[in-house]
C-alpha cells in the first residue's frame, strides 16, 4: 500500500471528489496560483481551472458567505481557512448561516459545504495563532465536526464530508501535514460519526482525536513495555460523537484518560467525561482524568510552549494515576 503524507491524502480526496462531481469547488486564500499555504491544493487549479479553484481576497467573512450562498444555489463548496484562527472572522457564516439554514427554513434549504483548515498549535506561532477550537465548533447544533489524525482517516473522512448534504467543519493540523501513513490506491470512504479503536488493550482507555491520536499511540507503545495495555479510541468525528464506542471501551477497561489538544474548561473532553459518567458509572474503578493544554494563552517562548501542551509524559502520568500505579 502506498505511504503518503497527510497533505497528499487531502489533495487526493479533493481531486477525486472534484473529478467525481463538477458541483464541487475549492475557495480560499492562496489555494490556486500558490497551490495553498500548506500545498494541500497543489495542482488543482491547473487541473480544474480558475472557476473551480478560486483564490479569494483576504476576507474570511466574505468568502465564507459566498460559499454558503453558492451551496444554497446548488454547488458543493469546500472553503479553506488558512488556519482556524483566521476563521474567527468568518464564524458568523459558519454558526449563523451554514448551521442554521436547514432548521430555520423548515427543512427547505440544506447547505452542503465543507469548511476546512489547520486547527490548534504548531510551533512558536504565538497565542493568537495557536488555538484549538474544536469544542467551540462542536458546541453548535447544525454542523458536524471532524478531526482526523492520520492520512488514511483524513482522506476517507474528507471525501465523506464533501458528499454530506449538510455543513461539515473539517479540522486538520499544521503539524500533521507532513506525517505519513498507508493510504490505499482504491477508493474508500470513512463514515462520519463513527469512532475507531486504533489499538486494543484491557487496562485503560485513552479517548482522543486529531493529532493527539499520535501521542496516544506513543503512550500505548511505551506503557506496553510496563505491561500496561491501552485501548486507544480515536473519536474521528467530534460531533456527532460515537458514544457507543466510548462506553464499550470504558466498560472493558474500567478506567479512562481523555486526551485533547485544547483547553480544559468546556473542552471536548468534558463532553466525553459526561457520557462516561452517565453511562458507565458502575463500571468505573477510578475517576476519569483529562489531559489538555494548560489553561493559559499559548506561550511563545519555546520551553513554556512545550510545557503548556499536552504530551506523552503527561498522558503517561495520567494513565498511571487512574491505574493506581
Amino acid at each position: 500500500m502506498p505511504i503518503i503524507t497527510y497533505r497528499e491524502a487531502l489533495n487526493q480526496a479533493l481531486r477525486e471528489e472534484m473529478a467525481r462531481d463538477d458541483r464541487v469547488y475549492l475557495m480560499g486564500e492562496e489555494v490556486g496560483v500558490y497551490n495553498g499555504a500548506y500545498k494541500v491544493s497543489k495542482g488543482l487549479m491547473e487541473e480544474f481551472g480558475e472557476n473551480r479553484v478560486v483564490d479569494s481576497p483576504i476576507a474570511e467573512l466574505g468568502f465564507a458567505g459566498v460559499g454558503v450562498g453558492s451551496a444554497l444555489a446548488g454547488l458543493r463548496p469546500v472553503i479553506e481557512f488558512m488556519t482556524w484562527n483566521f476563521a474567527l472572522l468568518a464564524i458568523d457564516q459558519v454558526v449563523n448561516s451554514a448551521a442554521k439554514m436547514l432548521y430555520m427554513s423548515g427543512g427547505q434549504f440544506n447547505v452542503p459545504i465543507v469548511f476546512r483548515g489547520p486547527n490548534g498549535a504548531a510551533l512558536q506561532l504565538g497565542a493568537q495563532h495557536s488555538q484549538a477550537f474544536e469544542s467551540w465548533l462542536a458546541h453548535i447544533p447544525g454542523i458536524k465536526v471532524v478531526s482526523p489524525g492520520t492520512p488514511y482517516d483524513a482522506k476517507g473522512l474528507l471525501k465523506s464530508a464533501i458528499r454530506d448534504d449538510n455543513p461539515v467543519v473539517f479540522l486538520e493540523g499544521e503539524m500533521l501535514y507532513n506525517t505519513k501513513g498507508e493510504v490505499p490506491e482504491e477508493e474508500y470512504l470513512i463514515p462520519l460519526g463513527k469512532a475507531q479503536l486504533k489499538r486494543e488493550g484491557s487496562d485503560c482507555s485513552i479517548i482522543t482525536s486529531g493529532k493527539m491520536v499520535l501521542v496516544a499511540m506513543q503512550v500505548a507503545d511505551l506503557l506496553a513495555k510496563e505491561d500496561i495495555h491501552i485501548d486507544v479510541l480515536d473519536l474521528l468525528t467530534l460531533r456527532p460523537m460515537d458514544v457507543g464506542a466510548i462506553t464499550a471501551s470504558v466498560r472493558k477497561t474500567n478506567r479512562a484518560v481523555v486526551l485533547e489538544e485544547g483547553w480544559e474548561v468546556c473542552g471536548i473532553g468534558s463532553q466525553v467525561v459526561d457520557y462516561i459518567q452517565r453511562d458507565c458509572f458502575d463500571d468505573l474503578d477510578a475517576p476519569v482524568i483529562r489531559v489538555h493544554q494548560a489553561d493559559v494563552p499559548m506561550p511563545y517562548a519555546k520551553a513554556l510552549e512545550k510545557s503548556a501542551k499536552p504530551d506523552v509524559a503527561k498522558t503517561i502520568a495520567a494513565v498511571k494515576q487512574v491505574m493506581y500505579r
Binding site: 458502575d282 509524559a313 493506581y324
Partner: protein, 405 residues
C-alpha cells in the same frame, strides 16, 4: 561470536511459550541444530533448537516458566567469551518513562479533594461496589488499597480469591488436615481455550448440559424414611444437595474456581444454594456438604434459607462456595439455565419433579422424573468432563442408597 537464544514463535498463533524442560545444561557444548529445550506452545510441545555453535553458557528462563515470544532465554558462546553485556540486557527492567513531576502533582491535587465521604462510611469505586454486590461481599470487611483507602476492583478480586471475609465464623467449618485446594497453573492449551472461547461468548464462555433423572427410588426412600418419624423427614431438595455434594467430592475438576491465571481445584466441597429473598437472590453455603448426612443437610439448609429470607446471614455464611445449586422446581419450572456465580465454574439448575410416561424395558410406565441443567464455564470444564459428572450424579440420585455410604 555469541548466539542469543530467543523464545521463538513455534506456531503461527503463539504469543508466549512455557519452557517445559532444558535438554542441555549450562556448560555443555552445543552445535547448530541441537535441541536445547522443549517449549509448550498454545498447541503442542515443540523443540527449541540451537542457531549457533559453542557452549550453552547461560539459561535465563527456568523450567516451567512462561515467556513471551522474543524473550532472551539463553546464550550460546565460546567458553571464555564475556557475555555479561548480553545477560545484563536481559535482566534490565523495561524502560520506564520518567513522569513529569509538575503535571502529576497538579493532577493529583485535582483528584484528591474530589472524594468526600461521610464519617464511618467506606470509600469505594462504583465498579468495586458493583462487583462486591455481585459476589455477595460486605465492603466493610474489605481493606481498600486505592488513594485514601478507596476499595477498588483489585481489592474485590483479592477478597473473592481469598474466600471473602476473615471474620470469625459461626458456621460449622471444621479445620482440615489436608490442604483445602490445589492450584494448577494454566497449561497453554487451557489458556488458548479460555482466550478463544471468551472472545466467542464473554466473559464466561458457558455451555449447558441437561439430563432427566428418574426420581422414583428417591421418592421411595423419602417415603420410607418419613414413616420412621418426623426427625427422618427430608425433602427431594435435600437428597439433590447431598447427591451433588457427594458427586463433587469425586469430581474436583468441577469443584473449582477460575482465577484468571490459574484454576483452583478444591479438595473440600462448599455447596452454595440459591435462595430467593424479597431483596433478590442470595447464595448461602453448606460448608463441607459432602461430609454431612442427609439429616444435617436438611436441617442446615432450612436454617440458612430461613435466615436468608430474614436478611440475617453473615457475610461468611454466603461467601466461599465452590459450586452452586439453584432449584426452581417448587415453582413448577420444568427446566432452566442458571447463571454461573464467578469465580465458580458451574451451577446446577433443578427443575420440577413430575409424573411422566416413560419407556422402561420396553414398557410404558409412569415414573417420577426431574430435569437438571448444569451451566459450565468452558474455560475450566469441557463437555465430556461435565457429562461424566452428570453421569455420576444420575447414578447416585437414581440409586439413593449410595448416599448412605
Amino acid at each position: 561470536m555469541a548466539t542469543k537464544i530467543f523464545m521463538e514463535a513455534l506456531s503461527p498463533t503463539m504469543e508466549e511459550g512455557r519452557l517445559v524442560k532444558w535438554n542441555t545444561s549450562e556448560g555443555s557444548v552445543v552445535k547448530s541444530g541441537d535441541v536445547l529445550a522443549e517449549v509448550e506452545t498454545d498447541k503442542a510441545v515443540m523443540e527449541l533448537v540451537a542457531r549457533g555453535n559453542g557452549v550453552l553458557r547461560k539459561q535465563l528462563v527456568a523450567e516451567g516458566t512462561t515467556a513471551p515470544v522474543g524473550t532472551l532465554v539463553g546464550v550460546i558462546a565460546a567458553a571464555d567469551e564475556d557475555i555479561s553485556a548480553l545477560i545484563g540486557g536481559a535482566a534490565a527492567a523495561p524502560a520506564v518513562v520518567a513522569a513529569p513531576a509538575p503535571v502529576a502533582a497538579a493532577a493529583a491535587t485535582v483528584a484528591a479533594p474530589a472524594v468526600t465521604v461521610g464519617v464511618g462510611s467506606t470509600k469505594s469505586s462504583p465498579l468495586a461496589r458493583r462487583l462486591a454486590k455481585d459476589s455477595g461481599l460486605d465492603l466493610g470487611a474489605i481493606e481498600g488499597s486505592g488513594p485514601g483507602g478507596r476499595i477498588i476492583k483489585r481489592d474485590i478480586e483479592a477478597a473473592v480469591a481469598g474466600g471473602g471475609s476473615t471474620a470469625s465464623s459461626t458456621v460449622n467449618r471444621p479445620p482440615s488436615t489436608v490442604s483445602d485446594y490445589t492450584d494448577q497453573p494454566l497449561t497453554q492449551i487451557r489458556k488458548t481455550i479460555a482466550k478463544r472461547l471468551g472472545e466467542s461468548i464473554g466473559p464466561i464462555p458457558t455451555f449447558y448440559l441437561t439430563a432427566e433423572f428418574d426420581m422414583t427410588r428417591a421418592a421411595e426412600m423419602r417415603a420410607s424414611a418419613a414413616a420412621l418419624g418426623d426427625e427422618f423427614k427430608i425433602s427431594f431438595n435435600d437428597i439433590l444437595l447431598k447427591a451433588t455434594a457427594t458427586a463433587l467430592a469425586a469430581h474436583p475438576e468441577i469443584n473449582a474456581h477460575w482465577l484468571g491465571d490459574k484454576i483452583r481445584f478444591f479438595n473440600r466441597v462448599h455447596l452454595g444454594m440459591a435462595v430467593a429473598t424479597d431483596d433478590g437472590l442470595i447464595v448461602p453455603v453448606l460448608f463441607d456438604a459432602d461430609q454431612k448426612g442427609l439429616r444435617e443437610i436438611s436441617r442446615e439448609s432450612k436454617e440458612l434459607a430461613k435466615r436468608a429470607r430474614e436478611r440475617k446471614l453473615k457475610p461468611e455464611e454466603y461467601t466461599g462456595s465452590t459450586f452452586s445449586v439453584s432449584n426452581l422446581g417448587m415453582m413448577q419450572i420444568d427446566q432452566f439455565t442458571a447463571i454461573i456465580n464467578p469465580p465458580e465454574c458451574g451451577i446446577l439448575a433443578i427443575g420440577a419433579l413430575e409424573d411422566k410416561p416413560v419407556v422402561i424395558d420396553g414398557e410404558l410406565v409412569i415414573r417420577k422424573r426431574l430435569r437438571v441443567t448444569m451451566s459450565c464455564d468452558h474455560r475450566v470444564i469441557d463437555g465430556a468432563i461435565g457429562a461424566r459428572f452428570l453421569q455420576d450424579l444420575r447414578r447416585m440420585i437414581e440409586n439413593p442408597l449410595m448416599l448412605v455410604f
